[in-house]
Amino acid sequence: MTSSPAKGIENMSKRLDPIIEKYRGKKGVTIPLLADVQKELGYVAEEAVGYLAEKADIPAAELFGVATFYAMFRMQPEGKYVVRVCRGTACHVQGSALIGDQIQRHFKIKDGETTSDGIFTLQYVACLGCCSLAPVLMVGDEVYGRLTPDKAVSILESYRDK
């Protein structure tokens, strides 16, 4: 687990120390701690985990364990918009696989990947709870329902200029 200093995160202590202090001495804080770090850096960077382990006195193994267990955490930076394609049951029977396929083809990315221009990150998720509007996807916090593959692509295209 080596990280080249050239790619190092700038101002690590300035950015992460306030977060560490917020949770110091409290019980069961690993998840919100990592969530705050992710919010600050955009992702849970490997070197940030090392820094946290030392400063917050939590074993790095525990931090990595939690970060890799939950779907919410990512170890790589993501695009400007996260596109969550719902792959729940209702969406599945209404053809969400075709929607995911079309997005993959159009933007030349796979599940979990980010477009080369850094605008979209594609994520397949379990269920967004909007089953009666299936198939559904989410861009950031916005939910779009009753999709077709073409409609999904044109919604995403409309985000390019935003």
């Binding site: 998840i31 939950y70 209702a90 029977v93 083809r105 269920c127 089953c131 009666s132 299936a134 939910v143």
Partner: protein, 589 residues
């Protein structure tokens, strides 16, 4: 003159259907009218008609469905301006006939009593509708054991899946001796296809807070935790507002309502792991660890969060509590059949005309739920199966549609009630594909602790993938069954113990469809891509080039005005060519 209230359904599904611009339009047009108030409310469960706008004046309540900005304008001018109802858009009317009235009248709304009626961000509206009356009664007139007895007598059972009697659970936690106890609300609704908890959290958050406070009093807890999934940002927002308002009114905090009872609640956001719906995994997650289950006993009632006695109930269960305490156990248990008392909220989705939420007394036959409440199957297609209980549940065929929906009857079929999600499937749904879908879900979500669950589900998934590619053998079906029972026996928690259910029920009720995939190498529903082939009928094709232009992978070639051909090696079976062909020349075999 009573004020006219304009209520716009702004739960996640309403917003997704376009309620935001409607709300904006209405507030803009009505901003100078002092006698009209535009409000955001939750979801009444008529998702298929979103966006919904209700006009309430005095005792009259009229709801318009599928409202867009233009219709909103019409409503302002004609209905609010001239007092004339615009009949063609009306879906519900409490004083005159309307198309959707029967769907509402067939329901008994206890859990959904406030959803879609009140502004979830205004505690006064909740209080006006008997809110916090149950808590007051519990604290001032009842001992903790009285409360527990009332809940026991009501017959309420856990609505999250397993159906354990809520009063009994509370009794165990009450009896545990400790200086500190936790009361947890499981709002980690992870079953794909279920969304009743989201709707209650978004539309009536105070009912959960009140339910938790009553429960906290009953078991002797001082701290409440709502474990809510992060995929529900609006629910978390409304909960936070509600908690703040409840604290301001001293309905949470120290010495609630002047009594000795001290109780406060905070929210723990889930981080996306299905297994955390399991009690012991949720406890691990609350403690900040990987959400992996542990053996029971000790049960959470004795050793839960940070080793302290803990009671966990799901959202729908808790929404019932204030109503039960206010109205009494007998008012609740007069609904239902057998050992399943009260009502159940169903989330209806999939191939149905009227997707949404409906709350009915336990014991309604599946057929009525699907064909009356959910409005049957669209496009004259034939019903094939209903999937109940999410990844832990099963698929039931037409022959079992007279099964009453209660815990025992549903369990007897091999499915489970689960959280009440129902995904309805028609003849265009492939059963093998559905089984594969669920298996891939549980395989991904298995935490990896028990080898049978971790490896067994993977092997089962591989077999199903083989079958859907047309490479299955008849022995595979026996192997699937054998693995399924081993996983059920060899897994620690509910996830593994129920993971094979979708496969077992489909093997039991739809074995022929598996056999067709294996022996005839055909997918009758025309879903499994390796077993179907798209082709163009040269007799019918007019060479308009539309299919070739629309094909996303350029698999179609041909000259203008001449018959076109699909290159099967490139075709991805997306169906676009069928959609665009003006003369129906494309077919699937």
């Amino acid at each position: 003159m009573p004020k006219t209230l304009v209520k716009v359904g702004m739960a996640s599904c309403g917003v997704a259907a376009g309620a935001e611009p409607v709300y904006k339009k209405l507030t803009e047009m009505l901003k100078d009218r002092d006698d009209v108030e535009v409000k955001k409310v939750g979801c009444i469960g008529f998702c298929y008609l979103e966006p919904l706008v209700e006009i309430e004046k005095g005792s009259s309540r009229i709801t318009y469905g599928k409202v867009d900005e233009a219709i909103a304008e019409e409503i302002v001018e004609t209905h609010i301006g001239h007092g004339e109802t615009i009949k063609k858009y009306v879906v519900l009317n409490n004083s005159d006939e309307a198309p959707e009235n029967p769907r509402l009248e067939n329901q008994v709304r206890i859990v959904l009593r406030n959803s879609g009626l009140i502004d979830p961000e205004n505690i006064d509206e909740y209080i006006e509708r008997e809110g916090y009356k149950g808590l007051e009664k519990a604290l001032k007139e009842m001992s903790p054991m009285d409360v527990i007895k009332e809940v026991l007598d009501s017959g309420l059972r856990g609505r999250g899946g397993a159906g354990f009697p809520t009063g009994l659970k509370w009794k165990f936690a009450h009896m545990a001796k400790s200086d500190m106890k936790y009361f947890v609300c499981n709002a980690d609704e992870g079953d794909p296809g279920a969304f009743m908890d989201r709707s209650v959290l978004e539309g009536d958050p105070h009912s959960i807070i009140e339910g938790m406070a009553i429960g906290g009093y009953a078991i002797g807890a001082s701290e409440g935790i709502i474990y809510c999934r992060a995929e529900y940002p609006l629910a978390i927002k409304h909960l936070n507002t509600a908690l703040e308002q409840a604290r301001e009114k001293e309905l949470l905090g120290d010495n609630i309502m002047g009594t000795d009872f001290c109780f406060d609640i905070h929210i723990k956001e889930g981080a996306g792991a299905f297994v955390c719906g399991e009690e012991t995994a949720m406890i691990a997650s609350i403690e900040g660890k990987r959400g992996m289950p542990r053996p029971r006993p000790p049960f959470p009632a004795n050793k839960g969060v940070f080793g302290k006695p803990t009671n966990i109930n799901n959202v729908e269960t808790l929404a019932n509590i204030p109503w039960i305490i206010t109205n009494g156990a007998s008012a609740f248990n007069r609904y239902g059949i057998g050992r399943s008392r009260g009502t159940k909220v169903f989330a209806l989705a999939g191939k149905v005309n009227k997707g949404g939420l409906a709350e009915v007394p336990m014991g309604m036959p599946l057929r009525d739920v699907i064909f009356e409440l959910a409005g049957g199957i669209p496009n004259n297609k034939k019903f094939k199966a209903v999937q109940l209980g999410g990844p832990s549940g099963g698929c039931l065929p037409e022959a079992l549609l007279d099964t009453p929906v209660d815990y025992e009857s549903i369990n007897a079929t091999g499915a489970i009630m689960g959280s009440g999600g129902m995904v309805i499937m028609d003849e265009t749904t492939c059963i093998v594909d559905v089984a594969k879908f669920f298996l891939s879900f549980v395989q991904k979500e298995s935490c990896g602790k028990c080898p049978f669950c971790r490896i067994g589900t993977k092997r089962m998934l591989e077999i199903l993938e083989r079958i859907s590619r047309g490479e299955g053998k008849m022995e595979d079906l026996d192997l699937l069954e054998e693995l399924a029972y081993q996983i059920k026996d060899g897994s620690l928690c509910g996830l593994g113990q129920t993971a094979p259910n979708p496969v077992l029920t489909t093997l039991k009720y739809f074995r022929e469809e598996y056999e067709t995939h294996i022996q005839d190498k055909k997918c009758p529903a025309k879903v499994c891509t390796s077993l179907i082939k798209y082709s163009i009928d040269p007799e019918k094709c007019i060479g308009c080039t539309k299919c070739a232009r629309n094909c996303p992978v350029n698999a179609i070639s041909g000259e203008i005005k001449k018959a076109h051909v699909i290159d099967d090696s490139i075709c991805v079976r997306c169906g676009k060519c069928i959609e665009v062909c003006p003369v129906n020349a494309v077919s699937v075999e």
